[in-house]
Symmetry: C2
Subunit: 191 residues, 2 copies
DNA sequence: CGAGAGAGAAAGAACGATCGTTCTTTTACG
DNA sequence: CGTAAAAGAACGATCGTTCTTTCTCTCTCG
């Protein structure tokens, strides 16, 4: 009894969200209209407005999905890590891998912020929550690994993550990756 | 003989460009239509399309103006510098000051790139040229100051500049500034 | 058991508003 | 008087959203 009323996430809603996410990320949010999303997803307007309140809700869901994916990746790394130091190394390698393989069009959150100037906008609040969470997790890992000034080191790693995502997109991705790995390992107190 | 045909830059064109630049930067490029630019500038459509080929040309002029402003700031710093090391310090302080005081809505080039996915687009080419130039200038200053691995250090400083511009906008600008100054001075081999 | 009423979701036309651009008219100056 | 710039109406296209219609099940009652 997989009622589409009680849990409609698996069906058209999920497909719609994935299609919209791809377009939003690859072409920018304001640049893609609902018509193209609907056309690419193979659904009609009524389907969209049944599962989402509007385009902005779709954008929020897109960023929340990105946030969930990153949290999932981090949890997977935490399971594989054999020590706090190893965890730091896995996080740094994971960021480099993500910038090099998946997020080749920059950071979804930074890009979204470029198009949403109002900090009170729900879209911006998703971005803020994600960044606060990510910084806190980094600080936690640094503290667990016994680092001094873990707050400062976490700030540095957040900045470097922003930098490698932007740099991989705008400049030479290979050089950005190497620069990131070197500086991030240094900032995290890794050999 | 300041003919408005031979050098129309001083008059309505300059005013239009400054108005458009402010709106593009503060609200995003795709988010501001020509109507609002015209309204805020106090001119009509005909004036815009006389001085610019279209909105895209206006965007290109906006970014070229940002590029020119940064080049001007760097030249001013070069005049004040009393030594290569001092020049490096001035550049780093200038970036921090710029992110903290003027560019509080992120980097105009990074933000523009979020909205223009096509690398062949004229807008993107302005961004590329700016970044290549900036990186080369940094490397030149580092070499002049006798630093080893000036290419690597230049890459690092470019990344840190991206990071502080993004971080000042999205996170706590004071913390971003401090983190940038510390890491950038370290990367440049400054005390 | 089968026909029909009814609810729910999808399809697609249509809405006003705004997008960037072009055109015709008016104004101003040499 | 003639030329060029500015004013503003108007263009088709697209924006995000809403509305009416169609379809498809399910449940019910004859």
């Amino acid at each position: 009894m997989k009622s589409s009323r009680e849990s409609p996430a698996s069906g058209p809603r999920q497909h719609l969200l994935e299609t919209a996410s791809r377009l939003f990320y690859l072409e920018g949010i304001n640049a893609v209209g609902v018509d193209r999303i609907l056309q690419q997803a193979g659904v009609t307007r009524a389907t969209l407005y049944r599962h989402f309140a509007g385009k902005e809700a779709l954008v929020v869901a897109y960023l929340e999905r990105e946030d969930a994916l990153i949290r999932h990746h981090l949890e997977a790394a935490a399971d594989r890590a054999v020590s706090p130091d190893h965890m730091l190394e896995l996080v740094i390698e994971g960021i480099a891998e993500d910038a090099w393989r998946h997020h080749t069009r920059g950071c979804p959150f930074i890009n979204a912020t470029a198009e949403f100037p109002d900090p009170a906008n729900p879209v911006r609040q998703v971005v803020s929550r994600h960044r606060v969470w990510f910084r806190a997790v980094l600080e936690e890992y640094l503290t667990a690994a016994g680092r001094e000034d873990s707050a400062i080191k976490a700030d540095t790693l957040v900045m470097l993550r922003d930098a490698v995502l932007v740099g991989s997109y705008l400049d030479d991705s290979e050089a950005s990756r190497r620069t990131f790995l070197r500086t991030a390992r240094c900032a995290a107190g890794l050999p």
